[in-house]
């Protein structure tokens, strides 16, 4: 059916499907295009230039493929629905014709989740980007999922609110993508991850049914099935609206930073802060390598591990949080470095340059985020760093901790290097990933904190969730018996065709 039929995940990942100019005529049935056109007038494209564009997301290895002239996949067409009814009709058509559907936000996902590996229809949600309502009394905003993150936050700021969800990708990601991947922002320690912010959802199931929950704070009416869509990565249907928590824009901000002898003392300081029920919005601990990378100008940071803290909200509360955090950090041996490092972080936190600078030089790198309880946190950090370093070809292996809970922490690891002699780029890349995933599971961590499963983590999911995998597969086949929704991702099934 599709231009490049990738029969299974392993196949696509081993031979890096190559885009072939001489086979560029679309074989996708013109009748399907006509039917889609009648559903979404002027909102369908099967132009080659669009199909090539929607062939990838921001999975780092695909950047290398772009330079090599390889495409991971090609969709047959792209549609841009403008309302939930159109989404319903598109899914009904796809369900009837058994055509793969890949929901698409802004393509900033880093695990290959939006790559249309089996072709089909990419449903780009960008035209559904309206803010439907702000409920000031209930502190909620109802929004369509295609809205860009920064545009949503700017809109809220202008009205005197914040959502407190500020991922590094805020400039280039959408609400729908956040929900589908259980995203986390840099201010998550105070405001939570995106799933903590969701009050209600509207979504379209593969058979076209629209489900919608009520915007009430809590409900004891059985399992909230709409929550299946959080982290579903487009496998269960398409989210068409969400109601989310918002907050009055903070009146005060306070910033602190400390240099610690090692990561472990810094972790201990933050654990104790959390234990006191104090939630700074931003908490970040950098290991020695990353401290050298980001705070080379900070006096007293050399050969140390930096901790930065940013508190925000009500003036009096911020003052109190500041005092408690400062006292706790000093108690754990932290040396105060003032607020300048935090300002530096604020100014540079969106400078995403590494992919652009290092990929053309033949380097392969990626970031991997995992979560772990406090009990196992020190060991997990140590084990993962060592495991990365052991893989031949790795040059950089570093980490920071960036999302904290009274129960534990998210570590964000970075690796970079070049494939050893005679090793294919993807083989090297996968070896480092395997080393990280394996170590994480050994240390009782969860293999993903907020990037999701996509393609790269799919083979590890069963090890992560065990018997729940069977349950997930049953739910998936009940909701989507023809497996049209984003096939080949997350819950990998034995293939049809």
């Amino acid at each position: 059916m599709s231009f490049y039929i990738a029969n299974c995940l392993l196949e696509i990942m081993s031979y890096d499907t190559v885009y072939q100019k001489d086979k560029k005529d679309c074989v996708f049935s013109k009748k399907i295009i006509e039917q889609l056109n009648s559903i979404v007038p002027n909102g369908v494209s099967d132009k080659e230039v669009d199909r090539v564009t929607y062939s990838k997301d921001y999975w780092p290895i695909t950047l290398r493929w772009l330079l090599d002239g390889k495409l991971p996949a090609l969709p047959d067409c792209i549609v841009w629905p403008e309302n939930a009814q159109q989404v319903t009709e598109i899914l009904r058509l796809a369900n009837r014709e058994k055509i793969p559907i890949v929901p698409f936000g802004e393509g900033s996902g880093v695990v290959g989740g939006a790559i249309p590996i089996r072709g089909g229809i990419v449903v780009d949600m960008k035209k559904m980007d309206s803010v439907v309502e702000i409920d000031d009394l209930g502190l909620m905003v109802t929004v369509q999922p295609g809205i860009n993150g920064m545009n949503l936050e700017r809109y809220l700021n202008r009205k005197g609110y914040t959502m407190g969800h500020i991922p590094q990708s805020i400039y280039c990601s959408s609400l729908g993508g956040w929900l589908a991947c259980r995203a986390a922002g840099q201010f998550s320690t105070k405001y939570g991850k995106i799933e903590d912010m969701v009050v209600a959802l509207e979504a379209v199931l593969p058979d076209g049914t629209i489900i919608k929950s009520k915007p009430v704070p809590r409900s004891s009416t059985g399992p909230q099935v709409e929550q299946l869509f959080l982290g579903s990565e487009g496998r269960f249907g398409i989210i068409t609206e969400a109601t989310l928590k918002i907050w009055p824009y903070p009146e005060e901000r306070s910033m602190l930073s400390f240099a610690f002898d090692d990561v472990y003392h810094a972790l201990e300081a933050v654990r104790k802060i959390m234990r006191k029920n104090v939630y700074p919005a931003v908490v970040r601990i950098y290991d020695m390598n990353e401290t050298l990378r980001h705070f080379y100008e900070t006096k007293g940071a050399k050969d140390k591990c930096m901790l930065i803290l940013l508190m925000e909200g009500d003036k009096k509360l911020v003052k109190l949080e500041n005092e408690i955090s400062e006292m706790t950090c000093k108690g754990e041996g932290g040396v105060a470095c003032g607020d300048e490092p935090v300002h530096h972080w604020l100014e540079t936190r969106f400078n995403v340059k590494e992919s652009s600078e290092f990929t053309p030089r033949g380097f392969i790198f990626d970031t991997v985020e995992v979560s772990v309880g406090w009990k196992n946190a020190p060991n997990l950090y140590k084990t993962v760093i060592e495991a990365m370093r052991k893989v031949g070809g790795v040059v950089v292996a570093s980490g920071h901790a960036s999302h904290f809970y009274p129960q534990g922490v998210c570590f964000y690891f970075t690796f970079g290097g070049i494939p050893p002699k005679d090793a294919a780029p993807f083989t090297f890349y996968e070896s480092v990933w395997d080393a990280i995933m394996k170590s994480c599971l050994e240390e009782q961590g969860s293999i993903s904190h907020h990037h999701g499963i996509g393609l790269i983590r799919a083979k590890w999911l069963e090890k992560e969730i065990g018997e729940r995998m069977q349950m997930l597969k049953k739910i998936k086949s009940a909701i989507d018996p023809h497996n049209i929704m984003n096939p080949g991702k997350m819950v990998v099934e034995r293939e049809e065709n």
Binding site: E106, S108, N289, I418
Partner: protein, 397 residues
Amino acid sequence: MKKIKKYAWVMDAFSQTPFSTKARAMKHFLTGKKSYLPKKKTHADMESVIKCALCPNMCRFDCPVLEAEKNEATSPSGKMRIAYLIETDRLDGTDAFELMYKCAGCDACIQWCPFDFSVSDILKGVRADIVADNRTPEDIVKIKEHLEKNHTMDKINIDVKGSEKGDILYFMGCTILSEKGEIAEAMIDIFNTVGEKYATIRDEWCCGAPLINLGFTEVFKHFAEHNVEKIKESGCKTVVCSCPTCAYMLRQVYSQMDFEIKAQVLHSSEYLLSLMKDKKIRFDHLEKECVYHDPCTLVRKLGIEEEPRKVLENIPGMIVKEPYFNRKDTKCCGRGGSLGSTNPDIAEKIAQKRVAELRKEAECIVTACPTCALAFEGCEVYDISEIFIKSLEKKNE
């Protein structure tokens, strides 16, 4: 020293790496880039094309074309990825080439880019390569051919003529010549009121911005030569432009391309403010509430944001409101970067959005660019010079 410190983490990582990896990494680091560059010589700065193509699209939220089109291909990095495939001969076809012209040239991208890239500047090189390869889309060629034949973007519809020589040369620009003659009339009234010895060019040619934008660098040179000669003949000490793009071209681009203009080049807002400072002019009360729209080229290319505000604020009775997105955060009118000519539908969508934004503040829009004024037609919209002269007219009644 700062640069060494900046990359100390890389050196530190290398120091802990086995020699064989280190040697191979170093080889890749020094030579890797070349393997991804096209073999042929390009007008496009390919290193910038690649860097932009590999970015996660950090400026996308502020790109007016993407906002209007909602198509990944029209996003800044989306265009660069296709540009890379074109430049490396992996992709061709009209759709791909036409995509390269979907940019409003507003430079909103620069503000969010860690490399300070202007997507429109990078695209100019890509378009020049498309021209060099004779693959230019037909509609784009027509624009060039029209300019070669008529020397202005559209038919001239005004008959405003100054002397051939004067201290000040008023360079009108294509939009004023064809569509916004009222701005020229206001400027001429102002010159007359203050007793300025002004000149205009009898056969003024386009400043050449559309030619540069669309990749016709060689044709542009004839236009620059003509205008430089005419400016010289006028004997002027100062060139005044109402159009920020003309001002930018004459002030910066001409000299970058070795076409020297000895006279000082001012945008009309700078000139009008200087009149106020010299106290050559006095205003009467003008009861008017307006919102000021910053033109992209004026604020981002020329860095002029205070002058038009000061002019308006100095007019007694004038209430000047600011839109939410103002100064360098302004939003494009849609017609920049020749988008009004190449993709009028997209330009119209962008304009509608900006108008809605501006009208939240006031019904009357004031700007300092004839192209923006044209984009906002249908609303009550004035160029800064029209407001200026209105205030004077009231005094003279």
